[in-house]
């Protein structure tokens, strides 16, 4: 036979302070603590997962560092080559090709003009030319002015020698650097 409790149920508000605290602890407190424990345990597993990954990656890094150490010579050779290429480029930047200057002179100077002195420099060509007549000189100037790489023509001096019956010109050409 089932027991029937005929006493009226005591409401929460009517419980003593201690009883209220126990009531709260067993009902709400327990739920809160369990929830927090679940969260903390989840976090613990997550921490383990992160730690395992970190260990794996650390091992990979160690392996790769060892590989890199074994390739130090390649790295050194590469840097050396790159530096040499840059140095050569920089050295070449101030250079000129004498062959091009000579070809230009060969091209613009008429056959009957005789050159006695020819100075080839980075961006300039200076020469002393001898000609029997002024027509050849004008031909020379015309030929030079047609050349696109010549930026400036300067007549440094002109002389006429009655003894040899020839004109002497000192000319300077400024060459455009390509």
């Amino acid at each position: 036979m089932e027991d029937i409790n005929l006493l009226p149920k005591i409401g929460f508000e009517n419980l003593s302070r201690k009883a209220k605290f126990f009531y709260w602890t067993t009902k709400y407190g327990r739920a809160i603590v369990i929830s927090f424990q679940a969260i903390v345990i989840t976090l613990l597993f997550y921490k383990l997962y992160l730690y395992t990954n970190f260990i794996d990656i650390s091992e990979t890094i160690e392996e790769k560092t060892a590989i890199l150490k074994s390739q130090t010579q390649t790295e050194k050779d590469l840097k050396d080559t790159q530096q040499k290429i840059l140095a050569l480029k920089s050295a070449r930047a101030d250079s000129f090709i004498a062959k091009n200057h000579i070809e230009l002179i060969k091209k613009v100077v008429p056959k009957d003009i005789k050159i006695t002195t020819l100075i080839l420099e980075n961006t300039s060509i200076r020469f002393t030319a001898h000609s029997q007549n002024l027509y050849l000189f004008s031909q020379l100037i015309e030929n030079i002015s047609k050349e696109k790489q010549v930026v400036n023509i300067t007549l440094l001096g002109a002389q006429f020698s009655e003894e040899n019956n020839e004109f002497t010109f000192d000319i300077e050409l400024v060459i455009k650097k390509i």
Partner: protein, 188 residues
């Protein structure tokens, strides 16, 4: 403010007061556990996460570097001839006798006579040490031209700074000012 709060509490009945008390205790418990149980765990995880991210990034960079070095190794092997040419153009040291031999060979090949050769140590140009060469030569105009052309095509890089040509009859005297470079590995 305090009296208003007290007045509001007075308005609540007993059941409502108890409900608020329960709620307050629960909130306090949640806050307490958050501070003393959750916060340390979250901090540790954040630190692990940060370490892992850093390690992942380092790993990725190392992978890239290894791949690039592999490519570089292949390229160094592929362009071995060009690199050899580069090393010949810019040797590690200045070898005067080799240079003189080379110049004499060129002069003989182009049928010109070298009258004088002078070497003087010049200033450093970037990574390179330089040596200035002053060279006086004599020959026909065509031979001098050909000598200059060959000088520019030498495996060892010779930079011609200036050329002065003076003709007398068929003989040309050339004063060539040039520079040679070397890397001087011992100094680097």
């Amino acid at each position: 403010m305090k009296s208003r709060l007290a007045a509001t509490i007075k308005l609540l009945n007993k059941t409502e007061k108890e409900a608020y008390k329960t709620l307050t205790i629960s909130l306090f418990a949640v806050s307490f556990l958050s501070v003393f149980a959750l916060r340390p765990s979250i901090r540790v995880i954040a630190s692990y996460r940060k370490n892992l991210d850093t390690a992942t990034e380092v790993n990725q960079q190392l992978t890239t570097k290894i791949t690039n070095l592999e490519k570089a190794k292949q390229n160094l092997a592929r362009y071995d001839i060009e690199i050899h040419k580069l090393n010949t153009a810019l040797p590690a040291e200045f070898n005067q006798s080799d240079l003189l031999k080379g110049l004499s060979f060129l002069a003989a090949k182009n049928k010109i006579t070298i009258l004088k050769t002078e070497f003087s140590v010049s200033e450093r140009e970037g990574l390179l040490e330089t040596v200035k060469i002053s060279l006086d030569a004599r020959g026909t105009l065509d031979n001098i031209y050909s000598f200059l052309q060959n000088l520019e095509q030498e495996p060892r890089y010779i930079r011609i700074n200036s050329v002065i040509l003076q003709t007398a009859q068929t003989v040309v005297t050339a004063k060539i000012s040039a520079k040679v470079f070397y890397t001087n590995d011992a100094k680097r």
